[in-house]
């Protein structure tokens, strides 16, 4: 990569680099560049699309029927890649509806219809003459609120570019305007060089580049001279006159020509310390900061062989193009179809309706001579003459791209760097076989993009599906494990019951355990009443809520059992409590209940004069281990201790 010093040195010597290829179409700028930019009367209706930039559209903040003032915001930025739109004049919001768009497809998009009231009344503006006292973020916000997006063509939100955290070496101001016919930037530079310079000053303040390069093609000497005068006292600023060669104005090409650097394949200019702004954008930034005016109008060139009065006009954003073509006196013909091209002859697109509105990126309406022939009709096979690759500024092989695009071999087309095509149209311009090459590349690109989207969607869906199956499987496994454990616990309990002649259940489920406790107590109650009395005191000694609850349940059950005094009722109780066992999982309760059961088992053993049950203990311990909880364990131990004491007392009493 060329070093900063080399570049500055070469610029000072007026030595530039070159880009490969390029074509030299007749520039035809003399048609429209001789008259000053004109102001037009207000059109009858304005169609302001809600989104005029790359990114997300803002959210509406006005309603149908509301009166709005000139410059009043109509939407609010809804995300970082969003800029608002503003009312281009004062008037009433007639409708917010779908309207034919300024897009090659003409597909309808949400548009606000504004009926001017003719007063052209401004909203209160907030000028900031002392921009240098404002901090960077305030300026970026001002630029965003003014609704500025790149005016050179792509329409990228400007505030994103002005908010560049990377270290910048070069700020390049693009006044190239390499498309034939268009003179909007040319006139703007000639008439408003000072305001453009103010815009550059603001950009310099926010971006802090080491050097500024202002580049103008050498077919616009007046514009270059005007900028030279405006920027005379500006340090670290080079004014460069580049050769007239299409597509010099392409971002990548201009960077290559003035710095010798190349933007990496999948990178951005900021990756090589460069950022670029169109002069129209500079003008709009100055307007937004110094005058507080949002972007509501722009210069549009009305030109072509089919108009009687080619000229540049200030067109309000939203002006239907029919209004402009009428002013340029378009010679209408009933027999022939007339093309109206929005943009230049190389990269512009034909509009589909006279009601298409002027948007922030509309720099030209070109009306060429009416004709029958459409280029698509006379396409011949490619003869591989390679005239296209000779003119390709990106050094691609357009004939290979065509071959693979036509065959829908998109992998191979990408191997030939399909996505490095900037769609400048130089290849199709020279093609002897009249092949609309760019059209093929666009189709191939969009096919690749939608393929990618689809793949991503499919992958996401698959990931979701896999996650779900996994989850269901895990759930199933867990359930099965629980069932198994429960079943084993029940079996163990049965075995114990045989040994101790006491029915003890050690299932980890609280309800079941509680039921078992109840049963055990009921039996005990029948045999020895004093034990019951001491047992009723237990809860008071332990201050665990759960323990109390369990005890209460046990008490209730004991009472019930005592009253009925029948074994059948016990069995009923068991079956009733089995149901909640599955749904209700409460480990805490289980542990406490288990501890209680243990204690009782000991007690029962003592009262029966048998050795403490050794078989129950291990099963209880395993449940304890799996559901390890120190606190609960301590509580259980305490309960057990208390019970042991009570037992000893009871024994003494009995003696």
């Amino acid at each position: 990569m060329e070093s900063f010093d080399t570049i500055v040195k070469r610029l000072s010597e007026n030595r530039l680099w070159q880009f490969p290829g390029g074509v030299k179409p007749q520039d035809k700028k003399a048609l429209s560049n001789t008259h000053a930019i004109r102001r037009l009367p207000l059109p009858d209706c304005l169609y302001i699309p809600l989104k005029q930039h790359i990114g997300n559209k803002g959210s509406l903040i006005v309603e149908v029927g509301q009166r709005v003032l000139k410059g009043q915001p109509l939407t609010k930025a809804s995300g970082p890649y969003s800029v608002p739109i503003h009312a281009s004049t004062s008037g009433t919001v007639k409708a917010i509806d779908e309207h034919v768009s300024a897009h090659p497809s003409g597909i309808a998009e949400p548009t606000l219809m504004l009926e001017p009231d003719g007063l052209d009344e401004w909203i209160k503006l907030h000028p900031n003459p002392h921009y240098s006292q404002l901090d960077k973020s305030t300026l970026v916000e001002l630029i965003c609120d003014a609704g500025i997006s790149g005016m050179g063509g792509a329409g990228f939100p400007t505030h994103i570019k002005t908010n560049n955290p990377q270290k910048l070496e070069f700020l390049i101001i693009n006044g190239i305007e390499c498309e034939p016919y268009i003179t909007a930037d040319d006139r703007l530079m000639r008439e408003h060089a000072w305001q453009i310079r103010q815009g550059i000053d603001i950009l310099q303040h926010t971006l802090n580049p080491k050097h500024i390069i202002v580049a103008v093609e050498d077919n616009k000497p007046e514009a270059l001279e005007a900028l030279r005068i405006a920027c005379k006292d500006k340090p670290d600023c080079s004014l460069v006159s580049t050769p007239t060669l299409y597509p010099m104005g392409g971002e990548k090409q201009l960077i290559q020509v003035v710095t010798g650097r190349e933007v990496p394949g999948k990178g951005l200019p900021s990756d090589i310390g460069i950022t670029m702004f169109n002069i129209g954008t500079c003008f709009a930034i100055a307007d937004a900061v110094f005058n507080g005016k949002p972007l509501i109008e722009r210069v549009v060139t009305l030109t072509g062989e089919a108009v009687k009065a080619p000229q540049n006009v200030w067109a309000l954003i939203g002006t239907p193009i029919a209004f402009l073509t009428e002013h340029a006196q378009l010679k209408s013909s009933k027999r022939y179809s007339q093309r109206i091209i929005m943009g230049g002859p190389m990269m512009g697109f034909t509009v589909t309706s006279p009601r298409v509105p002027v948007v922030k990126t509309t720099n030209c309406l070109l009306m060429p001579k009416a004709s029958f022939a459409q280029p698509e009709d006379i396409e011949r096979p490619c003869i591989r003459c390679s005239a296209c690759s000779d003119v390709c500024p990106a050094s691609l092989l357009p004939q290979q791209l065509l071959w693979h695009s036509k065959a829908k071999e998109y992998d191979k087309a990408q191997d030939y760097n399909l996505f490095d095509c900037i769609e400048c149209g130089a290849c199709a311009y020279v093609c002897p076989s009249d092949i609309p090459l760019v059209q093929y590349y666009r189709q191939a690109k969009s096919a690749v993009r939608s393929e990618k989207d689809e793949k991503q969607k499919a992958e996401k869906a698959k990931a979701r599906f896999d996650a779900r199956t996994q989850r269901l499987e895990n759930d199933k496994k867990e359930r099965e494990e629980k069932h198994q454990k429960a079943a084993q616990a029940r079996q163990n309990a049965k075995a114990n019951a045989n040994d101790t002649a006491t029915e003890t259940t050690t299932a980890p489920k609280s309800a079941a355990v509680a039921a078992a406790i109840a049963r055990a107590k009921a039996k005990k109650q029948q045999t020895s009443t004093p034990v019951l009395e001491t047992e009723q005191k237990e809860p008071a000694q332990v201050d665990d809520k759960k323990a109390k609850v369990a005890a209460a349940v046990a008490r209730a059950k004991a009472k019930k059992a005592a009253s009925s005094n029948a074994i059948e009722s016990e069995e009923k109780l068991e079956s009733n409590t089995e149901a909640p066992q599955q749904t209700e999982v409460d480990d805490k309760k289980a542990k406490i209940a288990a501890a209680v059961a243990r204690a009782k088992a000991k007690k029962a053993a003592a009262s029966n004069g048998v050795e403490p049950n050794e078989k129950t203990a291990p099963t209880i311990e395993t449940t304890q281990q799996t559901d390890a909880d120190a606190k609960k364990a301590k509580v259980a131990a305490a309960v057990a201790r208390a019970k042991a004491k009570a037992k000893a007392k009871a024994e003494k009493n009995a003696e």
Partner: protein, 370 residues
Amino acid sequence: MILGTSSSPHHTARRSTQIIMQLVMLAAIPGLLAQWYFFGWGVVIQLALAIVTCVGCEALVLALRKKPVVFVLNDYSAVLTGWLLAICLPPLLPWWMTVIGCVFAIVIAKQLYGGLGFNIFNPAMIGYVVLLISFPAQMSQWLPVNGLAELSPSLLDSLSVIFTGFTVSGHDIEQLRYTIDGVTSATPLDSVRTAITLNNTYSDAINSPVFNGGLLASWGAGWGWISAFYLLGGIALIMANIINWRIPVSVLVGVAITATVLNLLNGDLYGSAVYHWFNGAVMVGAFFIATDPVSASTTAKGKVVFGALIGFWIVIIRTFGGYPDAVAFSILFLNMSVPLIDYYTQPRTYGHSTKNRAENSAEKRKKKSN
């Protein structure tokens, strides 16, 4: 008002395929006139016959393939193919051989491969090689050039020989080939080959009468001038930006380097660069045939490789091979190699590393398979 639509770019500065073909033929006219001057009416008759046959074949196949006949014929590519084939043929070749050559060129080499733009081989050269392999004797029956011939056939004689085998006065082609010295004429390339097989030196060989009348010692009589006129036409094509300079210049340089190396090794056996340039079909081949865009390399570097290798093969086959001239073979060999050459000579795309694209895509594939 009807709004028309079109896709960008809306303006073009194109020279249509049709104009390109016509301009190529225009540039070939000086050479053709020289051929007519030195070899007589046979040249013109072959030209007319070849063009009619080629256009007829093209129309027939297009009709069979259900393609728009007039629209496609309008590209003039069939006319040019016939033209290029005709100027390579001996002037008094029997008519049916010319027809066979044309049928092969158009039907097999061009249309069966998919028509204009899809043929891997240069159709005219396929037609020529088919004839050369099938009818080697007739294909080497070149007449002595004007001024050296004993009998100069008139327009009527030529017509008669081509269509019946005999002139109006009853001479056959072998009699017409007698020179004023009373021997059967040979082309300059032939005569040098024969001389060397007879253990004569190259410098002796170019003292023979077939080299009299050239501007330089090694110019064949007539052939040198014909080559010079094709060279002129070729330069005009480069100036008019119809053909790229890379292929013809590399062919000539390839011929010159190979010939000079051999000539320096043994000047008695091997001809000089000028000898190779101005005899046989090198000039026509370099400027008019190797530059056929469809079958040539398309990358800048590839064109140089393509041209240089053609030049190399021309000299190698002429010197060591069995055929006196080798332009057609060399061009066809390199036509075969074009996909390979193009693949390895792709230019570096803007913003990409200097690494060869082939390596890059190989890497990508590796990553994928991993």
